[in-house]
């Protein structure tokens, strides 16, 4: 029965194609009389005058956004840069410290567990912070993306792989909550997490960006996550909340990650 049905269908299809061809022959291309199609791209530039009523409609929204974005939340004691250190940078340290401080209480209240450390990606810092007033706009400039903070449970073995990645990358990926010292041959000389020596046999809770957990920047070790908890907290929101909380930002290049020369 099924076979027969299929056969019937085939015949009908042939017939339909046949009639379509007949149609083409007897009444031109199609039943419609579409003759010509023109396609162009128009660049929206100053050649076109803005419509006043639209500009006026936008204005109050624009002014509100600008005033909120530009209101001073904190003060940067000096230029905060992502390139002022080899193994850690002032901008990277600020970002990782903010996530550790802001995310830990949320993670604790949701799961009852303690956050151990933070790993972000150096490329995720999109702008330096200039000395002077710091606003919400600063947070949008540094972190224009909507990435959220996630906490990943990793085995001791996966943490080791993470560190191997970090060392091999030769980049100052922002970290907080760990202290990592390398010897001259780039081997781990010492490693403390939250002030305790690293323990191969336990699991660690690592806060990071959802972008990295989904494979961004080739951070493949996150694939071995035992558990991923999205704390629904945008990285940018954490920054703005932190800026509101503190008076001054004075991050420095420090000894959280360095190499003994």
């Amino acid at each position: 029965m099924a076979k027969l049905k299929h056969f019937e269908c085939l015949k009908i299809q042939h017939f339909v194609i046949f009639t379509t061809i007949l149609g083409l022959v007897s009444c031109s291309q199609t039943s419609r009389n579409l003759r010509k199609i023109n396609g162009i791209k128009v660049v929206v530039d100053s050649a076109f005058a803005p419509v006043d009523s639209i500009s006026e409609y936008i204005l109050p929204y624009h002014e509100h956004v600008e005033s909120v974005l530009d209101s001073t939340l904190a003060y940067a004691s000096w230029d905060i840069s992502k390139t002022d250190g080899t193994y850690n940078t002032s901008a990277g340290n600020l970002m990782a410290d903010i996530i550790l401080e802001q995310a830990a209480p949320i993670f604790k209240s949701r799961t009852g567990k303690d956050l151990d450390f933070v790993l972000l990606n150096h490329g995720g810092i999109r702008s330096n912070i200039s000395k002077g007033s710091v606003s919400a706009r600063t947070a949008f400039e540094v972190m224009p993306f909507e990435n959220t903070t996630v906490v990943v449970e990793l085995s001791g073995k996966s943490v080791k792989e993470m560190l191997a990645y970090l060392i091999k990358s030769k980049r100052a990926h922002p970290v907080a909550g760990i202290q990592l010292v390398l010897d001259k041959e780039d081997r781990i000389k010492s490693l403390d997490i939250r002030g305790e020596p690293f323990d191969d046999n336990r699991n660690y809770y690592v806060a990071t960006s959802d972008y990295l957990v989904s494979g961004g920047d080739d951070m493949v070790f996150f694939k071995d996550a035992l558990e991923v908890t999205d704390i629904d907290y945008k990285i940018r929101s954490a920054m703005i909340d932190y800026f509101r909380k503190v008076d001054t930002l004075s991050p420095k290049v420090d000894l959280r990650y360095y190499k003994v020369e």
Binding site: F15, V42, V44, Y61
Partner: protein
């Protein structure tokens, strides 16, 4: 089914198609002209870019786009204004107002329809629903099944628009959300095969709705190396009745629309105008006044 019956019905159907065509020919003895304008991936870019911007100095801006659209409508009132999705996300306007201003302004510009992009879920399906009261245009998406979501009933798979007697059928096609959008944002939205759904839609619009022009609003993306990822160029090759695919997602800046031979060897257009409202796509369709002739459709880009 009795095959004979089906056959005669098909014949009747094609006679009706011809009759419909003849009617359009005989009832009107003047030429007709339809203009289709389109944007994609505007991403909340409401203000023009600053004059010192590295990529788009002084370009874009909603108020200026309004001026451009107005001047085109003055020249040809038979105009449709469409968007291929990713209206949301990209400037603080979205973070502050959740898309309200974007929808209000698009309504003021008299957009006719948009499809839905992955970033339009950035405040969740509830966040999208919350902004719908500000949109006076249609949301067309045929391959997302919203049945088990709050968006059920707020979108249409397709819609037909009549401009100066020209019937235009528009359907929307969205990108696979899994892996692109967090599941708790799009919730129980079900993604259906874009090629199959597009085929159903265009057949319905041409054969049942008897549309003179069939347009696909797609957020699939222009073209991918990975052949398992559906894209607009492949979709174009698989369609039979679609005349124009207006795309988005890949932020592809095409100098001119791409001409692609469809499944029956007919040339159709695929277009995408980059992103952030720096360009407006314009496709003009010209219809002859006279009766049937042997002449084909000429395309110039």
């Amino acid at each position: 089914m009795d095959r004979r019956k089906f056959v005669s019905r098909t014949v009747a159907g094609s006679v009706m198609v011809s009759a419909g065509g003849l009617c359009l020919n005989s009832c009107t003895d003047r030429k007709k002209h339809l203009t289709v304008l389109h944007t994609n991936d505007v991403h909340s870019h409401i203000d023009p870019f600053p004059k010192n911007h590295a990529d788009f100095p002084g370009l874009g801006g909603l108020a200026r786009r309004a001026g451009l659209v107005q001047s085109i409508r003055k020249e040809n009132p038979n105009t449709l204004l469409l968007d291929a999705g990713d209206i949301f996300q990209g400037t603080p306007y979205f973070n502050f107002y959740g898309g309200e201003l974007e929808f209000k302004l698009m309504s003021k510009l008299k957009y006719d329809a948009s499809t839905i992009g992955n970033h339009d879920f950035d405040n969740g399906i509830d966040g999208l629903l919350a902004q719908l009261p500000y949109a006076s245009f249609d949301f067309l998406i045929a391959n997302y099944d919203f049945s088990n979501t709050v968006l059920d009933g707020y979108t249409k798979p397709y819609k037909t628009y009549i401009r100066d007697g020209i019937k235009v059928g528009i359907y929307g096609i969205g990108i696979r959300l899994a892996g692109l959008v967090t599941k708790n944002l799009y919730k129980e939205t079900e993604y259906l095969d874009p090629y199959e759904i597009a085929s159903d839609m265009e057949t319905l619009l041409r054969e049942t709705e008897k549309c003179d022009v069939v347009i696909c609003l797609s957020h699939l993306g222009y073209s991918y190396e990975n052949e398992n990822r559906p894209d607009d160029l492949t979709l174009a090759q698989r369609t039979r009745y679609t005349d124009l695919i207006i795309g988005g997602h890949t932020h592809t800046f095409l100098e001119r629309p791409t001409i692609v031979a469809n499944a029956v060897g007919r040339d159709i257009l695929v277009n995408q105008v980059g992103c952030f409202g720096v360009n407006l796509g314009r496709i003009d369709f010209y219809f002859d006044a006279g009766g049937p002739s042997a002449q084909g459709i000429s395309i110039s880009v």
